[in-house]
C-alpha cells in the first residue's frame, strides 16, 4: 500500500527544467505553476486557426423517443465522412523509392538489436563504423536513422523504443566523428515492419536502426 502512495515528480522542477533547456528559444509563452518558460515548435503551431474543441453541450444524438402515433422520421447518415484526400500519397511513394535507391547505392548497413533493448552490439558498432566513413566522405549528404521494433508489445511503447534505438545509433555515429547536423532520427515503432511472420527470425529482422540517405523534406 505504501508504494501506491509514493510520489514521483515535482511540477516546480518541471517548470525550471523547461526554463533551462529552452533558454534562448522564443516562440510561445508557457505558463505553468507560476513559472514561465518558452516552447518552440519546429514550424510553429500551424493549428492557430483550428476550431474550438471545447464541448458546448450535446444534441442528445437525435433520439426523439418512442411515440404511440409515430410520425415519419427521415434518417440521414449520422456521421458524414468526407472522401479521403490522396494528396501526398504519390509524392510519398516517389520519395520513398528515391531514398531506397540512394541508400542501396551507398551500401549503408543497418544495426540490429536484442529484444526490448537499444544497446548497440559489437556487430552494430562495426556496421556503424562503415556507415560513418561513408557519411564523412559524402559531406552534404543527410542521413536518416529510422528506429524499428518487432511486433511484440504495444504500438505506443514501441515508438519510444524505436526512438531509443535510432538515437543510440546516432550517438555512436557522432562519437565516431560524424557531424550531428548530417544526422536525423525518426521512430516507426512496429508500424513499418520489414517482415510480418510471428517468429524470432522475423522479429530479429525488425529490431533495427535502418539507415537511409535522406530525400524530400
Amino acid at each position: 500500500m505504501t508504494r501506491l502512495r509514493s510520489f514521483i515528480g515535482v511540477p516546480l522542477v518541471a517548470g525550471l527544467g523547461l526554463l533551462l533547456v529552452m533558454a534562448g528559444c522564443a516562440s510561445k509563452s508557457v505558463r505553468s505553476g507560476g513559472n514561465t518558460a518558452t516552447l518552440q515548435q519546429d514550424r510553429g503551431v500551424s493549428g492557430q486557426e483550428a476550431p474550438d474543441l471545447s464541448l458546448s453541450g450535446q444534441d442528445g444524438g437525435g433520439l426523439r423517443g418512442l411515440d404511440k402515433n409515430p410520425s415519419e422520421e427521415r434518417v440521414g447518415s449520422n456521421a458524414l465522412i468526407a472522401k479521403a484526400d490522396p494528396g501526398s500519397a504519390a509524392r510519398q511513394f516517389d520519395e520513398l523509392r528515391a531514398e531506397q535507391a540512394a541508400s542501396a547505392a551507398a551500401g549503408l548497413r543497418d544495426v540490429f538489436f536484442a529484444f526490448d533493448s537499444f544497446v548497440i552490439t559489437e556487430e552494430g558498432r562495426q556496421a556503424l563504423s562503415r556507415n560513418a566513413e561513408w557519411v564523412k566522405s559524402n559531406q552534404g549528404m543527410q542521413l536518416k536513422i529510422e528506429g524499428h521494433c518487432d511486433e511484440r508489445g504495444t504500438s505506443a511503447y514501441n515508438l519510444v523504443l524505436g526512438e531509443k534505438r535510432a538515437k543510440a545509433a546516432r550517438n555512436y555515429l557522432v562519437e565516431l566523428g560524424v557531424p550531428p547536423g548530417q544526422l536525423s532520427v525518426v521512430s516507426y515503432g512496429k508500424e513499418r515492419p520489414f517482415c510480418k511472420e510471428h517468429d524470432e527470425s522475423c522479429y530479429s529482422q525488425n529490431r533495427r536502426a535502418h539507415l537511409v540517405v535522406k530525400g524530400g523534406r
Partner: protein, 445 residues
C-alpha cells in the same frame, strides 16, 4: 503484491473459502452492474413489406434489419433476447397494435415485445426504404410506442441502430451505443491510414490517404474530429487533427522528435500528448484554445500514453522510470504522481473507463503474452481479461463502459475485437484487410 494483499484481506472478512476462489469472480459481476437484471425482450420479427417482385436485396431487407436490431439489443447488455415463437404470431400479420396473445408474453419469459416491418417505397432500386417498429410492455400490458423511419437504402442498418438506441434510452435513460463509431488504423500496402467504421464493424470509410503512416487516432468529445500521429513529412511526426465531415486537416503539434499518443480531455479543453522534444519522451498538455503548452512530467525515463479520467481531473499514463513500462496516475496538471501497477514487468496502453471505475491496459503475462488487464484506479482490484497467444493492444472503452475494443494477433493477422468488460462475448469485428489496429471507440452522440 500490495494489491494481492488487499484482496486477500477483503476475502478474509467475507469468508475463508474465498481465498482459494479466483479473485476475478466478484469483480466480473461488478464490471457491468452489481444488481442489474437484463430485460428479456422478444423480437417477433421485422416483416418484409416489399411490394411486387423484387431483387434479392429487397426481399431480405426486413430480415437484414431484424438481424442488425437483434445484434444491437444483445450487445447493449441491457436486454436479453428471448424466443417468442410460442406466441404463434408472425410479424407480417401485425399492424401497429399489439396482438391479443401478447398478454401471455410473460409466460414466454419476455417483458418486452418488439415487431415491425420494412420495405422499399417503390420498385425503383434507389427508392427510399421504410421501416416501422413497435414496442409492447408485457409487464404493464401497455403499448409503449413505435418509430417510423424513412431513408435511402444505404441507411437501412442505421435505422436498426437508431431503433435499438431508442429502446435502450427508453429503458435506461442512456443513449445506447448502436450508433457509435470506431476509428482505427488499416494497412494499405506499405502505408497505414485512418478509417472509421460502425461499432459493429460495418460501413468502413477511409479518412486519410497520405500514403505513409497515420497512427493511434482519438475522438474529439463532439465526435466531429480525430486527433492522431501523422508522418506527412515521413522524417518527422506531427500531431494532426482532421474534421471527418470535410476532411479538413490541421497540425496541432510539431515539436521535434516523437509527437505521439494525443488525447483530448473529456471537455475538449486540453490535448495531452507525449513528445521527445526535450530529449526523452515526456507528457505535455496543450490548452486547445490558447495553444499554450505545459510540461507535465520530468524525469530521465520515457513517459507516454496519457488517458483522462472521466472528470478530466486526472491522467493515467505509462512510464518506464522504474525499469519496464508501468501505469502511473497523476493530476491533470502533473502533480501528485503515483504508480498504479506493480504486477508484471510490462504494463502499457492504459484506457480509463468512461464510468471511471476501471483502467484497462496491456499486461505482459508470465508466459510473455501481451493481454488485456483491468485495474481499479485505487489499485485494489486487478483482472486479466483475455488469454491465449498473440499480442493484444490498444484497448478502448465503449461510451457506456460495458465493452472494450482492442487489436489482437490471436488469429495471426492483426484484427479488431470487441469484448465485454466482464470478459465475455469476445467478437471479431474486422474481417478484411491485412492489418487493422489502434481502435478508438467514439463517444455516444
Amino acid at each position: 503484491m500490495s494489491s494481492k494483499t488487499v484482496i486477500i484481506g477483503l476475502c478474509v472478512s467475507v469468508g475463508l473459502v474465498w481465498i482459494i476462489e479466483s479473485q476475478a469472480t466478484d469483480v466480473f459481476l461488478e464490471a457491468t452492474r452489481p444488481d442489474f437484471q437484463k430485460i428479456p425482450v422478444g423480437v417477433i420479427g421485422i416483416a418484409d413489406a416489399g411490394g411486387p417482385d423484387s431483387p434479392e436485396g429487397r426481399i431480405k431487407l426486413g430480415l437484414r434489419i431484424e438481424e442488425v436490431l437483434k445484434a444491437d439489443l444483445r450487445r447493449s447488455l441491457v436486454f436479453s433476447l428471448v424466443d417468442v415463437a410460442g406466441l404463434g404470431v408472425k410479424a407480417s400479420a401485425l399492424g401497429t397494435e399489439p396482438h391479443p396473445s401478447f398478454k401471455q408474453a410473460t409466460e414466454q419469459g419476455a417483458s418486452v415485445i418488439v415487431w415491425g416491418k420494412a420495405g422499399m417505397r417503390s420498385e425503383d432500386k434507389d427508392a427510399d426504404v421504410n421501416m416501422e417498429a413497435y414496442v409492447y410492455d408485457a409487464g404493464s400490458d401497455e403499448m409503449v410506442g413505435g418509430k417510423r423511419y424513412v431513408g435511402s437504402p444505404s441507411v437501412a442498418r442505421l435505422m436498426a441502430h437508431r431503433f435499438a438506441d431508442e429502446l435502450v434510452f427508453r429503458y435506461t435513460g442512456e443513449p445506447g451505443i448502436a450508433r457509435t463509431k470506431i476509428a482505427y488504423v488499416a494497412e494499405q500496402g506499405a502505408a497505414r491510414e485512418l478509417f472509421v467504421m460502425d461499432y459493429d464493424g460495418y460501413e468502413p470509410r477511409q479518412v486519410t490517404a497520405d500514403g505513409f503512416l497515420n497512427l493511434m487516432p482519438r475522438w474529439s468529445p463532439d465526435r466531429r474530429f480525430l486527433v492522431f500521429t501523422a508522418y506527412r513529412h515521413r522524417n518527422t511526426q506531427t500531431i494532426d487533427m482532421i474534421e471527418l465531415a470535410t476532411g479538413k486537416r490541421w497540425t496541432l503539434v510539431s515539436l521535434g522528435g516523437l509527437n505521439i499518443t494525443p488525447t483530448l480531455s473529456p471537455d475538449g479543453n486540453f490535448l495531452a500528448f507525449a513528445s521527445s522534444y526535450e530529449g526523452n519522451s515526456e507528457l505535455y498538455r496543450m490548452d486547445t484554445r490558447t495553444k499554450i503548452v505545459q510540461r507535465l512530467t520530468v524525469n530521465a525515463a520515457g513517459d507516454l500514453s496519457p488517458t483522462w479520467s472521466p472528470s478530466g481531473r486526472e491522467l493515467a499514463f505509462v512510464s518506464d522510470r522504474s525499469g519496464g513500462p508501468q501505469i502511473f496516475l497523476m493530476s491533470g496538471d502533473g502533480t501528485n504522481v503515483r504508480r498504479l501497477t506493480f504486477e508484471g514487468d510490462y504494463n502499457a496502453a492504459p484506457a480509463w473507463s468512461p464510468r471511471g471505475n476501471w483502467i484497462a491496459y496491456v499486461c505482459r503475462t508470465p508466459r510473455k503474452e501481451y493481454k488485456l488487464c483491468l485495474m481499479t484506479p485505487d489499485g485494489q482490484k486487478r483482472v486479466q481479461l483475455t488469454t491465449g497467444p498473440g499480442v493484444d493492444d490498444s484497448p478502448s472503452w465503449s461510451p457506456d463502459g460495458r465493452h472494450l475494443v482492442f487489436s489482437s494477433t490471436v488469429e495471426g493477422r492483426s484484427h479488431i475485437y470487441m469484448i465485454n468488460a466482464d470478459g465475455k462475448d469476445l467478437e471479431r469485428i474486422t474481417h478484411t484487410g491485412t492489418h487493422n489496429s489502434a481502435p478508438a471507440w467514439s463517444p455516444a452522440s
